[in-house]
């Protein structure tokens, strides 16, 4: 990690990090700090109630997206923006304007655009305007909270609203943005034309997107922080419609922290052909039947499974929110998984084997350093993912307070890693499945090779259910027949029931890189898991579509790029 600017490196190595803030922090941080102090002092003097904390975050985002379809360029757009998030706290750390009440924790920040060059006046005016607006909204909410506190029954979890943390002073170099436009447009056109060979494919795209994010943070506690990272992704998508009207899609991704880590044309071409072949196979596959019985979740499928049914439920802030199901709030110290399984969230980890991970970062959105968190140890629930909003028994953040610009911070997942301390080779896992099928007299079991992220409903008012959407599912027969692909299955169920039935784990963990959308916006995450043998999985049919395939035949492709 380079420290900025180079001459300061020696001093920084000797720990005199404070020097960086004083003399040579980036101009934008200078302006932020000046305006922060000016607004804070003025409000201390004139405002009643005065804020006890103000924090500014400027997210510098540079991105580009290039997409092609059937040999033609379909999108080439990019932007460079700086987005401002302001946090003002009034009241006290015990009760402030971010206090959660009935699922609502207030929404104040706007993520408004500010100047991307370092023009001080432009940034000052915006900082000032936003601080005033956010301050007023904060006071409004605090007043309402204070009057409600008198009327309503006290919440079970009486934790504070803001934890005490050590301010951080650190400046990395701003992240460099790389995206070879000419190169990618030249490559994506012929690559996307490969789909034209498959008449079953109705629409398809092959695209790349690159992004560089640098975060600048300044708070009245003394945090002065510059950090960031890049993201790059190749996306392959193809769609078809079956005779019975079902819409079928295959999405395949390659993720890296930089465009230099993305695959070459051969690998992308192979992935395109595989995606098309899988889509065609799905088109011809029979529809699933409702099923309850044993199954193997492939590594990626298991990762998504854990992200949805487990990960969201250990987000710290949900534990003290009365409107949430709070499935695990009272399970601390108790067994929540089979004892051979542990679950760790590690945002400090950049790779798993050869694969780069989406969910790593250096500091969270509140300036707390990223930390590895052991949430489940040998089946026992040990902790939660925490932001600076403390929960019972956990008064401090563990660096998982994350947000997208324009949203408020919430405790969110990072890199989820499922670890098994006893494993079997995948071939044996399969034999165990067949044994289980025979034992229970089932005609077949299921093997979930690939899934699409599902969604989870953690709210108290709705069914405590989750749905993970399988893409490639095989029936595994007990009588030695070859595996048979089926389509249209949705895994359903309630979380606690599913966990109890994890019987064994394979020995080859797989990585699922994705984006998770929840309260504080869309965030890059990953989920890593070995294959899992589950004794009871419930599958329902996907809702039927009434629509027919296209009425007229497809127009013929005249030109297919070499």
């Amino acid at each position: 990690m380079t420290l900025f600017p180079p001459p300061m490196r020696r001093l920084a190595l000797f720990g005199a990090v404070a020097m960086v803030a004083a003399a040579q922090q980036p101009a934008v941080l200078d302006t932020m700090v000046r305006e922060l102090n000016r607004n804070f002092s003025a409000l201390q003097e004139k405002a009643k109630p005065a804020p006890y904390f103000i924090g500014y975050e400027v997210t510098d985002l540079e991105q580009r997206s290039i997409t092609a379809s059937f040999g033609a360029l379909a999108d080439n757009s990019g932007s460079h923006s700086r987005l401002l998030d302001v946090s003002v706290r009034v009241g006290s750390p015990k009760l402030d304007n971010y206090h959660v009440e009935n699922g609502d924790r207030g929404s104040f920040t706007s993520g408004r655009g500010v100047a991307v060059d370092d023009t001080p006046r432009a940034l000052e005016m915006r900082l000032w305007g936003e601080t005033d607006r956010v301050y007023r909204a904060a006071v409004d909410r605090l007043i309402r909270l204070q009057s409600n506190q008198q009327v309503k029954v006290a919440a079970e979890d009486q934790s504070d609203d803001f934890s005490t943390e050590t301010p951080v002073v650190h400046a990395s170099s701003p992240v460099k943005f790389h995206c070879d436009q000419a190169g990618w447009t030249g490559r994506l056109r012929p690559l996307s034309a490969r789909f034209a060979k498959y008449p079953e494919v109705l629409t398809s795209t092959v695209g790349v997107s690159c992004r560089a994010e640098t975060h600048y943070l300044a708070t009245t506690e003394g945090t002065r922080l510059v950090h960031g990272r890049g993201y790059a992704r190749v996306v392959i998508q193809a769609h078809a419609r079956a005779e019975d009207g079902s819409d079928l899609s295959i999405d395949r991704y390659f993720d890296s922290g930089d465009e230099s880590g993305l695959p070459g044309d051969d690998a992308i071409a192979r992935a395109i052909d595989r995606a098309a072949a899988d889509l065609v196979a799905l088109l011809h596959a029979p529809e699933t039947e409702p099923y309850t019985g044993p199954a193997i979740l492939g590594g990626q499928a298991a990762g998504v499974f854990f992200h949805e049914i487990f990960g969201h439920r250990v987000e710290g802030e949900r534990q003290k929110d009365e409107s949430e199901g709070q499935t695990f709030a009272k399970s601390l110290g108790k067994s929540v998984l089979p004892e051979f399984l542990s679950v760790v969230f590690d945002p400090t980890r950049h790779r798993f084997g050869e694969t780069e991970l989406n969910g790593w970062y250096d500091y969270d959105s509140e300036g707390v350093p990223a930390q590895k968190v052991g949430v489940v140890e040998r089946g026992i629930l040990k902790g939660f993912l925490l932001s600076r909003s403390p929960i019972r028994e956990f008064p401090h953040s563990n660096g998982h307070g994350r947000r997208e610009p324009g949203r408020e911070v919430y405790s969110r997942q990072s890199n989820l890693i499922v670890e098994a301390d006893r494993t079997v080779p995948d071939a044996q896992l399969r034999r165990m499945l067949i044994d289980e099928i025979k034992k229970r007299g089932k005609p077949y079991g299921l093997f979930f090779r690939e899934v699409q992220g599902g969604f989870t409903n953690t709210q108290r008012t709705s069914l405590q259910a989750f749905r993970v959407m399988p893409i490639l599912v095989d029936r595994v027969y007990a009588d030695g027949r070859p595996d048979e692909l089926v389509r249209g299955a949705n895994i359903v169920g309630t979380p606690l029931a599913s966990f109890a039935g994890i019987a064994a784990a394979g020995d080859k963990p797989e990585v699922f890189n994705g984006y998770c959308g929840a309260a504080s916006g869309w965030l890059p995450v990953s989920a890593i898991s070995p294959a899992l043998l589950v004794s009871e999985i419930e599958v329902e049919k996907k809702p039927q579509s009434k629509d027919r395939p296209p009425l007229l035949p497809a127009p013929v492709f005249h030109e297919v790029a070499k």
């Binding site: 405002a47 460079h80 023009t119 006046r121 432009a122 005016m125 005033d132 629509d547 127009p555």
Partner: protein, 584 residues
Amino acid sequence: MRTWLLTAALAAIGTLAAQPQPAPLDPVLNAMRDEAMRSLDLALPGADKPYFVEYHVDDGETVRIQASYGGLVSRSRSPFRAYTVHVREGSYQFDTSNFLSRGSGVAGFNLTGFPLDPAYDAVRRYLWLSTDQAYKAAVDRLAQKRASMNRATASETLDDFAHATPLVEIAAPRRLQIDEDAWAERVRSLSGVASQYPEIQSSTITFWASAGAFYLVNTEGTEVRTPDSEAALRVWMVAQAPDGMRLRDGITFHAPDPAGLPSEAEMRLRIAAMAENAVGFTKAPKGVEYSGPVLFEGVAGAQILAEVLGHNFTLLRQPVVDQGVNFFAFGNELAGRRGSRILPEWMDAIDDPTATSWHGQTLAGSYPIDREGVAAKPVQLVEKGVLKDYLRTRQVIHGYSNSNGRAQLSNGMLGHTASISNLFVTASQTVPLAELRRKLMEICKERDKAYGIVVRRMDYPSVGTVEEATKLVQSGIGGGALPVSLPVGIFKLYADGHEEQVRGLMFRGLNAKSLKDIVAAGDDSAPFSFAYSAGLFALLDANSPSHPATVVAPSLLVDDLDLKPVEGDLPKLPLTPSPAVARR
């Protein structure tokens, strides 16, 4: 089938005779034509085939730059291509249009990936799937419309779709010519004007320029590729008076291309003038009730005509509505008034999209062919004060079953709403501005009024928020018609010639009828270009569909208008002084 073939052949012959057309080599047009014609064979069991299919494509390149207080906020340049598919089932007499449905159950295909390249195959593929889903939805809609009509008795049966002569007109697309770096620097520099006025709390400039083409192909034989381009620079600012009353003001310069915008020096002057007015606002006293003559000076004359007269030249048609759907539109004041006098008899109004400049100044509302493929021609709307005609599209309305080429504004499921293009409001008798001011004072003296009111700017199109506009409507609705936008540059003119700026007044009951009380017009006609939309106050914040238009009009002296103070709580002032003030 045979009928249209004949018509298309005749049309082709017709255009060949007039002007030799090259065979269209445009792959986009070819793909549109081939797929549209084939789509007439779409058929679901038990339903009719479509009787009409039309495709629209808009493509080109856009540059967008935003700056604030001397800092660049964003800058981008990207290509675009968007398309829409229209499928009509039924017949010209009764089809899927003029109907607000609660939605059809048709699930669409995943259609991301419409090409930017001139790729025949890829364009045709996406048109194929879009038409398929549009046809299936049309079959649903027609059934829903029939059911809705059975539930209610119509007061009048009008045809749904007017016939139009097929037109073939292939012109070259416009290429974006722009020195991007120079414009980024210009926009950044102009955004610094606000820095010189510490009373201004926030100010942003947005510049955009796009150029390309509009393509239209339909199964009647119309084939159009027409160049399309637009450039605009928009500035807005916010200021607050000591009691908290907020002023939002904005100015937009429009031209067909960046070269047509005013010079940087002129834009700087006009932005500074707006800033001076804003500063004057913060220092001005609140105005009081007023009833009497008002002089709309300079651009205010055009603004008031644009707002009060503009949309009234369009007749609305009540659609058939599905169960559970509400449709509400404010009535048109000029409906049924054709043949009646609506302006003084020495005034005329002509809408002319074929004009491109006026006295050397660029017009923003020009176009050759509208978005339904109908050639646009000048329309004399008002002659000697008498209303002669309305602006029309291919939607059949009461008393009219032909378009006059005014379909520029999209209205979603209801097709296009007719709108003005370049509206010339002329007076055959005019006087110099000084004389208008003298006349104003004369009327005031006769009525024992200490001062008259001069309005120099209206907030039109409004840069207020949707919330503020709603409050304004609620406080103004008593007048029987919609309120007009706020006068933001408003002055008391005293007998001795001195002026005092005031603030916080709104017009009450200013509507189309009030224009009959125009007493005199100035000799200072000038073009006012703006983003025309059908929304209230042409509110920019509402993000309604809009298009550039121009009104050429003089200063106007109007008698018998009422102004009253704006009501409501005033927002608080910021507790912290502005950085601009703190640094002085």
